[in-house]
Symmetry: C2
């Protein structure tokens, strides 16, 4: 069941492993990924496994415990070196009480006291947060270190965002701040979506929405791409001048630029980091920036692609775990 | 030049005036208003004057000094009882440095060190902030005391908002958070507005926008209202069943509900207090609430009319002045 581990960023030295270590955990809808990191947030080793057959909280916590032991044995350090952990989960998370309030259907969790489950199983202090918030913290350290106010936009099948205000995650009244996948901008459907259905914005420019529109306009005389092309393939064709693909990318970029603009107006944040395969495509990012430049807000808005890509959540979880370690033990 | 003073909220007692007092100041585009208040934020007396002939900073500060002396003499207490003041200004305000960065054309200020000017003239500690932020603080104390996260929406000719997060005004990276008059929602123009022009949202549903639309659909066979009716008159006719007025109010309410919804998605704020003549009209507020209820966000959103009306800014300024007094002197 164990998937291949991620490449080790750099060869291990004895100095790395003599340190006190933390775990950054990314609980996804289908996969679990764990990073073992040192006190400088350097990821020493990662481990991952499939969660599709065992998405219940007890099984996931058990797998995390197994992963922790595998990782520690791989770097040949005792379990006692582990001082804290933090996990990102794809759902609404009460970070104060350490409870996952709700996740999407893939995990199907409701009111899971994940922090306590992790602390009981691993015997170390734990923290939990929404995965996009965790990824935003990862990008904050990697991409956005020149500002303390920025928004991380995760663009996949759905669209979510993590908001940092004065260097702190803004979670809101009910731990659901940044749900911009539901935003209403010119060009999206005004019909209220049903319960647990995708939001207006993500229906239009999330991965599935872009693919639906591609199928609707697809014509084999006008493109060499298949009618089930991925958004990134469409954007690459747009960059090489394909008219059909350019039209779709431009419309998607304009709509996303509206959502970025609205968010910037409310928060007065000037930097947006885009994540996800589509979100980091250079042609798409450039097109969004063009649409933003055509407007005249009080200060320029900049969109940049994520520098961490799919490791943003692991990197962010490592930073949160290090914060927890600082609070619970002597300074690392 | 002095306009009639506002009604005194309650008869003065010796207990009120024996106290140390503060000034709340509201610098508007056309009028200056000043409130003298006691340490319980009770407004004892107000004074106002016209600013249209003398909108320059030095004249305004001089008028504030004059107003302070008039107010103190009216309640027969010495100048030494005055311990702090705070002023709201219609523009982007650097609250850290006490500088008004820019106001609308009515005042035409740029980079005015208003806090220092007030402190020099009045010889008491001063604070300054954007007028909508100041009004939001007033509403926070009067209307929104059950939550520490809420948005005050000022709906006049333009539309602005003041955002409170954890009981603190959220000002953003460049002191211009909450500029939702520029928000792009379904139903507004997508054409970028020129420099210093009204934003997309306020062009459509600000006072002038509503009146323009009324003139466009106005037909004396279908309404008894004149073709230059005020938004509040249109909403009152809508409430009594006028079809033409109902259609316009409903469309305006739907568009404003979209802006409220988008703001709630980003901030995860659940309470919106609406100010301004149109914003506090019961039929309009009810229609906005209906449109919000038709959507399914993670938690219900509530819109309520301001309870302070046009005194929100004075009340807010009084609260800010009391905070400043606390910081600079022994507890009041």
């Amino acid at each position: 069941m164990t998937l291949p581990t991620f490449p080790i960023p750099s060869p291990l030295s004895s100095a790395d492993t003599a340190d006190r270590l933390v775990l950054g955990i990314d609980i996804g809808g289908s996969n679990l990924r764990i990073a073992l990191a040192d006190s400088k947030a350097k990821i020493l080793q990662t481990w991952s496994c499939d969660l599709r057959q065992t998405p219940d909280p007890a099984s996931v916590v058990s797998l995390i415990k197994k992963g922790a032991h595998v990782l520690l044995s791989q770097v040949s350090v005792p379990y006692s070196s582990l001082v804290a952990c933090a996990a990102g989960v794809p759902g609404i998370t009460d970070t104060d009480r350490g409870i996952v309030l709700a996740t999407s259907y893939l995990l199907g969790w409701r009111d899971v006291p994940l922090r306590a489950l992790l602390e009981d199983a691993l015997r170390i202090p734990a923290a939990i947060d929404n995965d996009v918030n965790i990824a935003a913290l990862g990008e904050f350290h990697a991409t956005a270190h020149d500002t303390r106010n920025f928004v991380f936009l995760a663009i996949g099948t759905g669209i979510g965002s993590g908001i940092l205000i004065n260097g702190q995650v803004h979670r809101g009244e009910t731990f659901s701040a940044g749900e911009i996948g539901y935003m209403l901008v010119p060009g999206v459907s005004e019909i209220p979506e049903g319960k647990d259905m995708p939001g207006a914005l993500e229906s239009r420019i999330g991965g599935t929405g872009i693919q639906e529109q591609w199928r609707a306009v697809w014509n084999p005389k006008l493109t060499q791409l298949p009618n089930d092309a991925a958004p990134t393939a469409i954007f690459t064709e747009a960059a090489s001048g394909g008219a059909l693909a350019s039209e779709l990318m431009n419309t998607s970029a304009r709509i996303l630029a509206y959502a970025v603009y609205n968010t910037a107006l409310i928060l007065d944040c000037r930097l947006f980091v885009l994540g996800g395969g589509a979100g980091t495509h250079p042609a798409f990012v450039a097109s969004i920036q063009q649409h933003l430049n055509a407007r005249n807000p009080y200060a320029p808005i900049t969109v940049v692609p994520s520098t961490l890509g799919c490791t943003a959540q692991l990197a962010g979880a490592v930073h949160v775990a290090l914060e927890i370690a600082k609070r619970h033990t002597a300074p690392l």
